[in-house]
Amino acid sequence: MVPVVIGVIFVVYLIMYLSPGDVTATILGSNWTPEGAEIIRERLGLDRSFIEQFISYLVNFVHGDFGISYINSTPVIDQLSVAFPNTLILVIISITLAIVLSIPIGIRTAVKPNSIFSGFATVFAMIGIAAPGFWIALLLVLLFSVYLGWLPASGMENWKSIILPSIVLSLSFMAGISRMMRSSMIESLRTDYVRTARAKGVKPKGITYVHALKNALLPTITVIGSYTGEMLGGAVICETVFAIPGMGRLMIESVLSHDVPCVLAAVSVMSICVAIMSLVADLLYAYFDPRIKARYMRGRVSR
């Protein structure tokens, strides 16, 4: 976990370090002079070697010091602490929405693969995976904000403004999770242990919700864990379309204004979130799967 976080920061730092642009031009703007640039370089420590720079950045990062914004000269942490909760709320609502809706859909399509419902779900999944988020967002804004006037098109003022963004964000994940759920459910329904359960007289409901579901959830948990990254990527788009002051929008704005410390911090924090989520998914998996749990207990898994 810790090496992964350091690695992530390293990769992002490296990308930004290799960037050909001159930061002094960004900071000084029209006031740029060779002498001024020199002072700035010294103050930011840009004259030191890459390794030195990176280590001092890492040390500061661990202490919660993400540097000073080039643009408005405020600590980056201040901007992050405003933006982060907004993204967190959006992502948590979206993940919950996606899981709550798609797992039952996946189960039903697996149990009754030839029903009309399954047909709809399949088409929905096909479209949901391929539909670009920003486009769906605009269509929903057109429908619910412009024509019906039910929901606000932008901002983060009240609970209503979170509805559209979370629908958009959860849509493609619903498609993915329900597909995964469906296939792993079909898989488990054909296993020998489900046959044993039927042979001992378990009713169809018990077969589906106890014997098959417990096993089918396992691969789905992994998939949900791996979707966190995609979800944050989607949040970048969603926040831009709906003008939500979150991490994604902060990042886009910083990129457009060449505010390197801000971009660096935003990307790193988002990646760390992904790392944490994949760890959580691993732990959940272990919790649900006694085979893995036993291995964890014995301390054989080092990761």
Binding site: D192, T196, G201, P204, H211, R291
Partner: protein
């Protein structure tokens, strides 16, 4: 045997036909199967892989996989109930209570995420309607009965060896003392030493709980050890059935003969093994007439055209073969050395 005659059969399968239908082909797994199991007896159902043994077992539980599997024709009567007319929900009350089945592969037949105790306790909760604690108590007793310490009830299947898992499955099958236990190759996946233990256990419990058993196997050794009667299956139908003595010492059907000839004999190691020539017919494309005729040494024109009828040699022994239709005139046709000995039985 005579006792059984007086009783009504516990299980009676009449003229069963089961097909598996897919877009490409129709696999005829069971073709006109007749079978009876009497209370308290062990019937061995013998045949090669693909003969339809497992499908027979599943049909008794009305668990032929849908939608491909179709019961085209036939009647299954179990404990005076018409099994094939029951709904899924009615069936689930019968399964595990009146009849239960032990499957071939113990490694994959237990749910990996539920404790062994809970899996057995579930049977009690389903059929005895008792609370969770009591059910677990009884599950632990079942475990003890099959020789597993009760403390292991809250362990998961992956913590058990193959033989232990099969014991668990036996405990699961016997939990509600069913009248009929179907055991589908219960020892095939196990080591030889474990096989003997498991068989011995099943024998003992069967006697103790006084139930009937349908032992599905391809191993004639197991049959000799545990069965009272034997039914030999080929291409989805019973070609010969009789008591253990009938089949082992007075076999009549050329297929049964071939089956025995392909076994090594420890008393007579000089004897060559005589494998049955050819292969099992493709169940999607069965030959006309007797399904065995392409591989049969004694096959005649008639065998290729007409399906043979059941011929009774005694009250217990019968075979489906044209050879015996004109038995009196044509004794020389079957060259089996056993033939002479079984003469007496034929007359009866």
């Amino acid at each position: 045997m005579n006792e059984n005659e007086k009783k009504n059969p516990l299980l009676k399968i009449e003229n069963l036909h089961v097909h598996f239908v897919s877009k490409a082909e129709t696999v005829k797994a069971i073709n006109g199967l007749d079978l009876e199991v009497y209370p308290g007896e062990t019937l061995g159902l013998v045949g090669e892989t693909g003969a339809g043994k497992t499908t027979t077992g599943l049909t008794i539980l009305n668990m032929v996989p849908k939608p491909q599997g179709r019961i085209v024709e036939g009647k299954v009567t179990l404990d005076e109930m018409d099994i094939l007319s029951k709904s899924e929900s009615e069936m689930s009350d019968i399964r595990g209570d009146v009849v239960s089945m032990i499957f071939q592969d113990p490694m994959t037949s237990l749910n990996p995420v539920i404790t062994v105790g809970d899996q057995i306790a579930e049977v009690f909760r389903l059929h005895r309607k008792i609370d969770k604690k009591e059910a677990l108590e009884q599950a632990e007793e079942m475990l003890e009965m099959v020789g597993i310490p009760r403390v292991r009830a809250n362990e998961y299947p992956h913590q058990f060896s193959g033989g232990m898992k099969q014991r668990v499955l036996i405990a699961l099958g016997l939990a509600c003392t069913p009248k009929l236990l179907i055991a589908d190759e219960p020892t095939t996946a196990l080591d030889v030493t474990i096989q003997a233990q498991v068989l011995e256990l099943m024998q003992r419990l069967k006697k103790r709980l006084d139930m009937a058993m349908l032992m599905i196997t391809h191993d004639l050794g197991i049959v000799a050890e545990v069965c009272d009667r034997v039914a030999v299956m080929y291409a989805g139908t019973v070609v010969e059935s009789g008591s253990l003595v009938d089949i082992f010492d007075h076999k009549r059907h050329p297929y049964t003969e071939g089956l025995f000839n392909s076994l090594p004999n420890i008393k007579n190691r000089d004897r060559d093994l005589i494998p049955i020539k050819g292969q099992m017919p493709n169940p999607a494309d069965l030959p006309t007439g007797c399904p065995f005729h392409p591989r049969c040494e004694y096959a005649t024109e008639r065998c290729a055209q007409e399906e043979p009828e059941l011929h009774w040699f005694s009250e217990t022994h019968c075979a489906k073969c044209w050879l015996y239709e004109n038995l009196q005139e044509d004794k020389s046709m079957l060259h089996s050395k056993d033939y002479g000995e079984s003469k007496g039985g034929t007359q009866a």
